[in-house]
Symmetry: C2
Subunit: 241 residues, 2 copies
């Protein structure tokens, strides 16, 4: 729980939060999440983690690109990219302003009404922090918030949800120097727990259903005030850029 490791493992539960309407630019996404939780549950508890897909955050923040034809879509990708890492045919792997390396610089045409594409939030950590503060104010419970997106991987087919913004939780669950189950000091095990929580939350959301928020309960996370961008490898330690 929030106070650090405990020896007793427990059941992890992931609750989909239903009843969040289609989000439009200017909407108060924190208010929509709070209302949905109040109406449909689950009541947030200390130790819970709130996971929010970035699309509703981006839409609320006006990070929508209108009237997308192919040319406009390509232009948006180039505009969002700080650097193009690889290009093959229509596929662009780019580094975003945040440092993330992903397909199409995070510009996404799926799950958006009409001919619009969604961009990543300008500062997803800040977005997560804003939601966390509002939820704390409304419920009295300080739950960490993880904002997620769906990314591909370098050497494996398929995509998984990962964290792109965090507040109130340590991104890395650092096992370096901690004895393992055999009393041996473990080497170089740094679990990206916020990415594991993001992936787990996606299992309760589905992709073709409109469930953009989940509450994850029972995970032994550690509090932290770092930024998700701490997870991004610098060019110097990146062997594949």
């Amino acid at each position: 729980m929030a106070d650090g490791y405990h020896g007793l493992m427990q059941t992890v539960q992931i609750f989909p939060v239903t009843g969040i309407p289609e989000v439009e630019p200017g909407n108060d996404v924190a208010a929509l999440i709070i209302a949905a939780i109040e109406t449909s549950g689950p009541e947030v508890q200390p130790g819970d983690v709130l996971v929010v897909t970035h699309k509703i955050v981006s839409k609320a923040e006006g990070r929508i690109f209108e009237a997308v034809d192919e040319t406009a879509y390509r232009t948006a990708i180039e505009a969002e990219a700080r650097a193009i890492i690889r290009r093959r045919g229509d596929l662009v792997i780019a580094q975003t302003r945040h440092g993330f390396i992903c397909a199409n610089a995070g510009v996404d045409r799926s799950n958006v009404t009409g001919d619009r594409a969604v961009l990543l939030p300008l500062d997803p950590d800040r977005s997560a922090h804003g939601i966390r503060m509002r939820v704390r104010q409304a419920t009295g419970v300080d739950v960490p918030v993880i904002v997620t997106d769906t990314f591909g991987r370098a050497w494996r087919r398929g995509q998984t949800d990962i964290a792109i913004g965090i507040s109130g939780i340590a991104a890395i669950d650092d096992h370096r120097g901690r004895p393992d189950a055999n009393g041996r000091i473990m080497e170089a095990t740094e679990i990206a727990i916020v990415d594991e929580i993001a992936a787990a939350a996606d299992l309760a959301m589905g992709k073709s259903t409109a469930i953009p928020v989940a509450v994850v309960r029972g995970v032994a996370w550690q509090p932290g005030e770092g930024r998700l961008t701490d997870l991004v490898r610098s060019a110097g330690e990146d062997m594949f850029r």
Copy 2:
């Protein structure tokens, strides 16, 4: 559930399976898992997924490298590698015989008693299949099995658990051509659901506790008889090799 998608999302639950002893070469790992489930639960139900960390599988299969000094460890890595992808100082990123690209060709010194290192199973899909058949025989329930390992990522710090062997479940949850929540046909969303389940299971296992097995309940997975190695990108479609 096993019969495909349903519109109603439900709570996902991840149960750690406790009481599995230290595994030694020649042990019957399926029998140990079945005994632990019978003793401590949870009773497996149709729709559940059984997640097993590869280390107990590798140990039972004798995939242990004894008397590891640094030279022997380096030799084991070179022996396990089909190809070296990158090398920087002591860090080796290699392709394994299965096609996986990972640090140290999957040779791992953490969480092993004494001076031993664990290698990956020779055929993790086959290992998963063997456990699945034994669990079906013992319980009457055919649950898919995912064998996992902890891998790093190209551009992000930290590691997450992913699938290295599967049986009875489709590795990719293919949303291509399926309408999204707005009725729009989604583009290129292929969720690597077995990797999301692997990551989720790790949340209930922890790294410094000896919980090598979890039961995941409430995920809308699709049955399949493919191999996990289907997830490995061929050299031709790999932009980062």
